[in-house]
Symmetry: C2
Subunit: 437 residues, 2 copies
C-alpha cells in the first residue's frame, strides 16, 4: 500500500506545502467571514459598494459590446456569436479597449499586444510569478504589509517572498536596500518588487511621486522589475491623483497589474497585466513578455470568458472607456464614507490612550492601531459580543505591530452604519482594555 | 547590473522552464491555427458546433438562473444582485445543479460540497496537480497519446509526467504496471493516472467496462488516484454509453474532472472537479479534498465568474439539469458527421496503402495513420497547397507512430465539407507519397 493513500484518505503532508500555509486560507477567510456574521456591521471585506448593481446592466453591457464588434470592428452576426461563445484569443478580446482606458485614465501608453486579459488580477499575479520563478533562488520582494493575494500566489509557485517594511510615510528605502543586499549575499536573486502605490490594500497608504521615482531608479540600478498593482487608484480623495509608476516608466521596468473588480464589477472576474518587456526567444526572435505569459495562461485557464470580458467592455464603452467617469458616484460615496470614518474615530476614540489611525484621503481602507493583540480570535469575539467585524492586520504582515492593528474597509457601509460600527468598536476596545487590566 | 535584466530585456533562460517547452505552445497553436487559414476546411480545432449559438441565449440563461435563485432558493432581489455581481463562494455557486446533473446524466452521486467550480476544466487540472505535487518525486501518469492541457498543467507545477501507452484496443495494462514499477524503482511516486475514458481527445477511443474496472482495481492496489476527464462522454454513438469510472468508484479513488465547454458553451469557461477524497487537516480534522483544492483556487482565480456560472446554470435549468437532453441536436449532428467521415475515408482512401483510421462510433475525434511524417511543417504545407487542416498527433505523444498520425475533428463541419476535406486530404497524401518516391 502506498503511503499516499491510507484507507482511501490523504493527509496534509501528502499535498503541496502551500496547503499547510495559513496565508492560503486567508482569502477564503476574508471572503467568507462576513457571511458567518450576517447581522454584524462589516468593516471586513474589501468589496465595492453594491447599491448601484442591476441585473439588467449585464444584458445592456453585452449588447453594447456586440454593437461595438459589429459597428466598429465590422464583425458579422456569426463572428459576434463566435467571439462570445467559442474558445478565443488567449490574450483576450478587449485589449484595445483596455489600452484606450489606460491612456485616458492612467496616462499609460500601452501596446494592446502587450496586454493579457486574465481571470481577475489574481490570475495576472500567478502568471507573472510563474514566469519569474525559475528555481529556489528567485525572490519576490513585497512592500509589507502586503495584500494576501500576492503572498498566496507566490506560495503556489514555491517562490520566496522577502518583506520590505513600510512606515507611516511610505516605503522604507533603507529596508529595501538591505533586503536587496541580503538576498544577494545569500546567493538569491531579487526578481521583482510588488507594490500597491495608491490607497494600498491593506494600509490605505499612497506613495509620493518622489518615492515612485526613487523606486524606478532602484529598479534600474538593482535590476529588478516593479509589479505595480493598481485596483484603487481612481478612487481619489480631495488631493490630486498621483501618476502611476508605469506612466513614468521609460525603460519597461514596470509590469502593470490591472483589476476591474472594484471599478467594473467583481462578478465578471476580469483583470489584466501589461507586460511590454522584451524576451529573447531563440529562433522566434524578440517576443513580448505578454506572449510568454499567454503561454502560461493557456495552461491555467485557456482564455478569460469572453462573456465576462463583454460585460466589462460594455461598461467601458458606455463611458467612452473612462472608468473615472464610470465611477463618479462610487468615488464620491467612498470619499464621504472615508471622511465619516475619520470623524467617527475622532469622536469615539480621541480620549482613548494607545488607539490611533491613519488618514487616507481616498480609497477603501484605513488602519487602526490598538493597544492589544487583535487577531482572528479577537475578531470572532468582537463579532459575537459587539456585532462589528474588521480584518486583523496579521493576515498581511508578520511583524509585532501588525498583531495589534486592524484594517477597516468603508466601501460597503453608509455613514450611519459607519458611526454605529465605530461606536461598537469602542465598546469592544473598552472590554479588551478592562480584561487586560 | 543584474544578469536578469539586460538592456531592459529578458531571455527565455530568465523565465520558468515551462516556457521553453514546446507543449506549452501547443494550446495556443491549436486554438489559433484555424484563424491563420480562414479559407481552409478545418478538421483541427476540438470546438463544439456553433450553428446553434444565439446571443439572446445568454440573456435568457442568466434570467433563468435569477428566477431559480428567487423561486427555489428564496433569494431577495438584493441577494440575487449580490450573487451575480460580487465576489462569491470560492467553490462556486452552481454546485447543487452540477450534482443534479451528475446524478441524472452520469449516474454519479456527488456531495455538492465535494464539487469545486473552476474556470474551465483546465483550472481543475491545475488545482489537482498543484495539490498532488509536493516535490520532484511526485509523478503523474497519463494515458498516451494525451490531451495537451494535462501535459501543460503538469509543466506549470513542475510535475513529472510518465506516459502509459495505449493501443488500438485501449490501455496497455502491462505498460501501466511497468511504469508504476519503474517509477517506484527510481525512488519516485506515482500519484495519479490521467485518463479520458470516453471518445478520448485525441484518439477518439472509448475504454471497455472491463478496462474501467481494471483501472479502479489497479488504483486500489497500487495506491494512486484516477483523474477521470469526461468532456465528450455524452456525445454517444450508436452503442450504449459506458458507465463513468466515478460511478463505479466505491472507495473515492477517482477525482472526476468535468467540462461545460463542449456540452454548455466554451465562452462561459466553466468546468469543475469532484474531489470527495478525505484529507486529515490537523486541528481542523477531516476535510474534503475539494476544500483543499478551493484554497489553491482562491489564490489562482479567487472564484469562477458568477455571471459565467449563471449562463451555464440557465442552460442546465432549461433542460431539467440534463445535458444529454440539452445536447440532442449536437449529439445527432456529431453522429452524422462521424458516420460521414468514415464513409468519406473509405471512399477516398480504401485503395491507398499505408493509410488507415480508427472508427469511434461517437465523440468528436478520429485518428488517421499516414505512411509518412505529418507534423507542423506538413500541416502548414497542406493548409497552403490543399486548403485542409488537421492536428498532428505529435502534439499529444512523443512515440514514433504518432509522428505519422493526424487527428481529425468532425464537430465544426457539415457532411459536404467533410467529404471535400477528405478529398483534399487524399490529394495531399498523393503529393507527399509522390515526393517520397
Amino acid at each position: 500500500m502506498s503511503p499516499y493513500v491510507r484507507d482511501g484518505g490523504l493527509s496534509l503532508e501528502d499535498l503541496h506545502v502551500s496547503l499547510s500555509d495559513p496565508s492560503l486560507a486567508s482569502m477564503t477567510f476574508l471572503n467568507e467571514v462576513s457571511q458567518r456574521y450576517p447581522k454584524a456591521i462589516s468593516f471586513a471585506a474589501g468589496r465595492p459598494y453594491e447599491g448601484y448593481f442591476a441585473v439588467e446592466d449585464v444584458h445592456r453591457y453585452i449588447e453594447r459590446y456586440c454593437r461595438y464588434l459589429k459597428q466598429e470592428l465590422g464583425h458579422s452576426d456569426a463572428e459576434v456569436r463566435r467571439a462570445l461563445f467559442q474558445y478565443g484569443r488567449t490574450k483576450g478580446i478587449i485589449h484595445e479597449l483596455i489600452a484606450r482606458n489606460l491612456r485616458l485614465d492612467e496616462d499609460i501608453t500601452a501596446d494592446p499586444e502587450s496586454i493579457v486579459v486574465t481571470v481577475g488580477c489574481q490570475e495576472a499575479m500567478v502568471v507573472v510569478l510563474r514566469a519569474l520563478r525559475t528555481d529556489e533562488r528567485d525572490v519576490l520582494m513585497a512592500v509589507s504589509p502586503s495584500y494576501v493575494g500576492i503572498t498566496g500566489a507566490a506560495r503556489l509557485v514555491d517562490m520566496r517572498v522577502a518583506s520590505v517594511a513600510s512606515g507611516d510615510d511610505g516605503i522604507d528605502f533603507d529596508a529595501l536596500d538591505a533586503v536587496v543586499r541580503e538576498t544577494r549575499a545569500n546567493g538569491l536573486r531579487p526578481r521583482a518588487l510588488y507594490v500597491v502605490p495608491d490607497y494600498s490594500n491593506p494600509t490605505g497608504q499612497t506613495l509620493s511621486e518622489a518615492d515612485r521615482r526613487r523606486l524606478l531608479s532602484r529598479s534600474r540600478t538593482e535590476g529588478f522589475l516593479i509589479l505595480e498593482d493598481n485596483p484603487y487608484g481612481l478612487f481619489r480623495g480631495v488631493r490630486e491623483r498621483q501618476r502611476t509608476i508605469k506612466s513614468m516608466d521609460r525603460e519597461r521596468r514596470v509590469v502593470y497589474l490591472g483589476s476591474f473588480a472594484k471599478t467594473g464589477l467583481p462578478g465578471a472576474r476580469v483583470g489584466y497585466v501589461v507586460a511590454d518587456q522584451t524576451v529573447e526567444d531563440g529562433t522566434r526572435g524578440v517576443t513580448l513578455l505578454a506572449d510568454q505569459l499567454a503561454k502560461i495562461k493557456s495552461m491555467l485557464t485557456v482564455n478569460t470568458s469572453p462573456i465576462a470580458q463583454a460585460v466589462v467592455a460594455g461598461r467601458l464603452l458606455e463611458n467612452d472607456c473612462s472608468l473615472v467617469a464610470a465611477n463618479t458616484r462610487e468615488t464620491a460615496l467612498y470619499q464621504d464614507n472615508m471622511r465619516c470614518a475619520h470623524d467617527s474615530l475622532t469622536r469615539h476614540f480621541e480620549d482613548v490612550p494607545g488607539v490611533s489611525w491613519n488618514r487616507p484621503d481616498g480609497g477603501l481602507f484605513l488602519v487602526v492601531d490598538l493597544p492589544f493583540a487583535a487577531g482572528d480570535e479577537e475578531l470572532e469575539r468582537c463579532a459575537e459580543d459587539h456585532e462589528v467585524i474588521w480584518t486583523p492586520m496579521a493576515h498581511f504582515a508578520a511583524d509585532e505591530r501588525s498583531r495589534r492593528r486592524i484594517r477597516l474597509s468603508v466601501s460597503q457601509l453608509n455613514p450611519a452604519e459607519i458611526d454605529l460600527g465605530v461606536e461598537r468598536l469602542r465598546a469592544f476596545v473598552d472590554d479588551c482594555s478592562r480584561s487586560a487590566e
